[in-house]
């Protein structure tokens, strides 16, 4: 029984870590800010929750499992809010959601410095 749980949690942990890497790859590879947001949301949902499930299966006391659950709840509510805040700020800041090419190399911080 405990071997089965170990294997299950190992699968969850490994898949979650691979999803984290895919998400980081998405943040690097995708062409503009709005598409990168989708890459980032893989880490916030799939990656984070699979890792947490894997850790809950390995938890030895009830309190540890509860704390992992609380981390999950906090991430569940804050991650989409933070994503939406970035997206909305970028939309107001003048990035175009329909034209990835327009969002390249317009570094306002660089412009301010000169």
């Amino acid at each position: 029984m405990s071997l089965a749980i170990d294997i299950l949690s190992g699968i969850c942990l490994f898949t979650g870590a691979v999803l984290m890497i895919i998400s980081a790859l998405g943040v690097i590879r995708l062409p503009d800010l709005f598409t990168r947001l989708h890459g980032a949301s893989i880490a916030d949902t799939g990656g984070a929750f699979l890792l947490l499930i894997g850790m809950v299966l390995q938890a030895d006391t009830f309190l540890v499992a509860i704390k992992l659950g609380l981390i999950g709840i906090v991430l569940f509510f804050t991650a989409p809010t933070a994503s939406h805040a970035v997206a909305h700020a970028a939309l107001i800041g003048g990035l175009s959601p329909d034209d990835p090419k327009a969002n390249q190399g317009k570094d306002e911080a660089e412009e301010d410095r000169t």
């Binding site: 890792l51 704390k67 991430l75 804050t78």
Partner: protein
């Protein structure tokens, strides 16, 4: 198992830093740092299991809250130039 998973998460975190350095817009950097923070929350929790010290989970919970507030504060500061002066 935990050491392999921790190693993979650290690699993912290093990859998000590439985007944070390259930009090009400030929003890209804030997004990259936000993802980096989400991964840090899980890295701290994994470190707790790796070293068998469950106290790390409290740090992880606190970091999850700080990461959210930090992202919003950075966005607000970038947009307005201050964090809410009296009008």
């Amino acid at each position: 198992m935990f050491s392999l998973v921790t190693f993979l998460v650290v690699i993912a975190m290093a990859m998000t830093l590439i985007r944070a350095v390259r930009g090009p817009t400030p929003y890209d950097r804030i997004l990259a740092v936000n993802v980096h923070g989400t991964m840090t929350v899980l890295l701290i929790a994994l470190a707790g299991f790796l070293t068998d010290r469950p106290d790390f989970l409290d740090l992880s919970l606190a970091y999850a809250l700080l990461n959210f507030v930090g992202t919003l504060a950075a966005l607000k500061f970038f947009k307005h130039g201050h964090l809410g002066e009296e009008s």
